[in-house]
């Protein structure tokens, strides 16, 4: 029940909006209903992206991910493993930042995000660490994991949020166009009530339309 709370709200908002858009006589109220209807859909999309205990998906570069992961490992494994982890961290550091002499001479530059760099780094760490620890390390440095306050947390899915930003822009544009047309209607017909507009339209039809 509580899990689907967002979805209940979205359906409720949508239905209220749709009701207003259909049943209200005043066209401004209809437009408000339409906006509410769309807002319901926004909530639906935003709920789609939610991941339990997820954090904002602000990425950090690979060296930082490794650094965080080693700190996390060190805290987990206790004193005995500390030297091994330190050695592994130094080895990984060397992969990301090759010694200056070699690095500059042939213009070689390491792309920290490239898959092969990641592989090299894990291999380097493997010389100092046990297989299980390397597996754990690999899990920790994945792009969709973030270590926050000594705790591994997944990212929320950013895509629906980005999508809905676009949809919000669309909805604002719709609102703008609707209001612009309503301003013209008010000027030409002198009313904003839907039933009166319908009557005036019929009159215009009987009068043969304005030439």
């Amino acid at each position: 029940m509580l899990q689907s709370f967002n979805y209940l709200i979205y359906v409720l908002l949508m239905m209220i909006g749709l009701y207003a858009a259909i049943a209200k006589q005043n066209v401004i109220k209809k437009v408000i209903g339409l906006s509410l209807f769309q807002t319901g859909i926004f909530i639906f999309y935003i709920s789609l992206g939610v991941v339990h205990r997820g954090v904002a998906p602000i990425g950090v570069d690979a060296p930082t991910r490794f650094h965080n992961a080693f700190a996390y490992l060190a805290a987990q494994e206790g004193e005995t493993e500390a030297p091994a982890i330190e050695r592994a961290e130094a080895a990984v550091e060397a992969v990301f930042h090759p010694a200056h002499g070699e690095g500059h001479d042939d213009g070689h530059h390491v792309d920290p995000e490239a898959p092969e760099t990641l592989k090299h780094a894990l291999e380097a760490a493997g010389e100092a660490l046990s297989e299980e620890q390397v597996a754990q390390l690999e899990e920790l440095v994945r792009r969709d994991r973030l270590i926050v306050d000594g705790e591994v947390r997944p990212y929320t899915n950013p895509l629906p949020h980005v999508l809905i930003l676009t949809a919000i822009v669309v909805s604002v544009s719709t609102l703008a166009v609707a209001l612009a047309i309503i301003v013209w209607i008010r000027r030409e017909f002198g009313t904003l009530e839907d039933d009166e507009l319908a009557e005036l339209e019929l009159e215009a039809a009987a009068g043969g339309g304005t030439p």
Partner: protein, 505 residues
């Protein structure tokens, strides 16, 4: 492919978009913005033809926009960006939409200058090109969310184009607002449907969605998505019973806009239905599991009968043609729902034919409005003698609408009837024939007063200017060519429908 050819799918959308941005900078006045729009639409048409030739030679063209992070333009597994994808089906629709716009834009100069407020002419052409951008974008994109955004772009611009008809008839404003209400609800349903699809599949790329939907089979999420998408698209393509926005929007918008919308907007909506029902959900799911075809066939048969019957009662030619469009959408959706190769071919030929014929008829009626300021039956009495060329165009258009042999309408209806019989649904074939008979009645309603009516004495009415007559005639000649050389054109369409159903030659 090299050079420009590589970027054709993007150019098709970017060219009218740039045109739309530049048009307001041209300054007020009837000529400058129009010249730009004409140039841009013809350039776009050239791109689409080139693209169609490439697709014809090399098969499906894929183009990736924003391939950041992972993958490259060739290998794109797991790409985050948007795919543009052009196969035989949408290459055809692209050519149709761009071609119709390219022919109608030259017509628009005089007609629009008379029907749209003068200080807004440059804005009119800006919105005109943006609408084209949206329609071509819907057709070219392979990304479901992108499709929603582009539908909204084309819809928003359509509301504005319709509302600009207010100078001739203030009811254009209420028509635009009502269309806005229905169109927004429809597009929002589509947005919801795409959301549910994303929820179920985790992707927005239509190709990947199709693979995952096939794996998922029948889950409530996919079913919900299907319902929302179908409802949204039905609104966009004005399928009975959610067609109410169409007659008023077409009747009161400027004549060039009526022709433009009638020949492109609903067609693109139907293309969207093709994409979702056949590519994303797959025929087996849409028609086998969910029986969506029963619903669609019922709706489209009602559309044919209702649209034709109401058209007969109209006293305004534009409204008459608009109701006839409701019926014609019925024909197209019927073929789609029958989902066999004959019927699908019929639908595609009908889309092309109806675009040409209905576009031409709206243009011909626009010529009459240009000279008379009215398209009401009683004002058109005996116009045949005074505007003979326009009348000829209108009459040929009527023949095409009815589906007389040697017009494209005959071929499409032939295929549709064949498709209905192949599906073993002879009552549907009867509806098709009754629809054609009703079309004869409303065609008579158009032709009879104009050709046989008695002209009121006095005022002299001249023939429409050549710049308006020529585009009208071009479209009709196109329709006749389609009808006479049917085999040539339908063979292209036949392969396209083969792709759609996933069968060989």
């Amino acid at each position: 492919m090299s050079g420009v050819a590589t970027h054709l799918p993007a150019l098709v959308v970017v060219t009218p978009l740039l045109g739309g941005v530049l048009a307001p900078l041209c300054g007020k006045g009837p000529t400058k913005a129009w010249s730009l729009a004409t140039l841009v639409t013809w350039l776009t048409f050239a791109w689409t033809c080139w693209l169609a030739a490439v697709v014809h030679d090399q098969g499906t063209v894929q183009y990736y926009v924003g391939t950041w992070g992972l993958g490259s333009t060739t290998d794109w597994s797991g790409v985050v960006g948007i795919e543009l994808r052009v196969d035989r089906l949408n290459a055809l629709i692209l050519c149709l939409v761009a071609g119709m716009t390219a022919v109608i834009t030259p017509y628009a100069r005089l007609s629009v200058a008379k029907e749209v407020p003068h200080d807004r002419l440059h804005m009119f052409y800006a919105v005109w090109q943006l609408c084209l951008t949206g329609l071509l974008g819907i057709t070219v994109t392979g990304d479901a969310f992108n499709l929603y955004v582009l539908i909204e772009i084309s819809s928003l611009t359509t509301y504005i184009l319709v509302a600009l008809g207010k100078r001739r008839d203030k009811r254009a404003l209420t028509a635009a607002l009502r269309y806005l209400f229905m169109g927004t609800v429809g597009a929002s349903f589509l947005l919801l449907g795409v959301g549910y699809l994303f929820m179920a599949t985790g992707t927005l790329n239509m190709g990947e969605m199709a693979v995952k939907v096939a794996e998922l089979r029948d889950t409530p999420t996919v079913r919900t998505a299907f319902a929302f998408v179908l409802a949204g698209l039905s609104l966009k393509m004005a399928l009975f019973p959610v067609h109410q926005w169409l007659p008023k929007a077409y009747a009161y918008s400027p004549s060039a806009v009526s022709a433009f919308l009638a020949s492109t907007a609903t067609k693109v909506g139907i293309y969207g239905a093709f994409r979702f029902l056949f590519t994303v959900f797959g025929t087996e799911f849409s028609f086998g599991r969910l029986d969506a075809n029963a619903l669609l066939i019922a709706c489209s048969c009602l559309a044919i009968l209702y649209g034709s019957l109401v058209a007969i009662r109209q006293r305004d030619l534009k409204r008459l043609l608009a109701y006839s469009s409701v019926a014609q959408v019925g024909y197209m959706v019927l073929g789609l729902a029958l989902a066999n190769r004959e019927a699908l071919t019929g639908t595609l030929v009908h889309m092309v034919n109806h675009a040409l014929v209905k576009g031409a008829m709206f243009l011909a009626v626009g010529c009459m409005i240009y000279r008379l300021g009215s398209a009401r039956v009683e004002d058109l009495q005996g116009l045949g003698k005074r505007m003979p060329l326009t009348t000829v165009c209108l009459v040929v258009g009527c023949l095409g609408l009815v589906g007389v042999p040697l017009t494209g309408g005959f071929i499409s209806k032939w295929y549709l009837v064949q498709g209905a019989l192949e599906a073993g649904m002879w009552p549907v074939a009867v509806v098709l024939l009754v629809g054609s008979l009703l079309a004869v009645l409303y065609a008579m309603r158009i032709v009879e007063p104009i050709v046989f009516g008695k002209a009121p004495a006095g005022e002299e009415v001249r023939e429409a200017p050549p710049s308006m007559l020529l585009p009208t005639a071009v479209l009709l000649v196109g329709s006749l060519v389609l009808g006479v050389s049917g085999s040539l054109n339908t063979s292209l369409i036949w392969t396209a429908t083969g792709d759609l159903l996933g069968v060989g030659q």
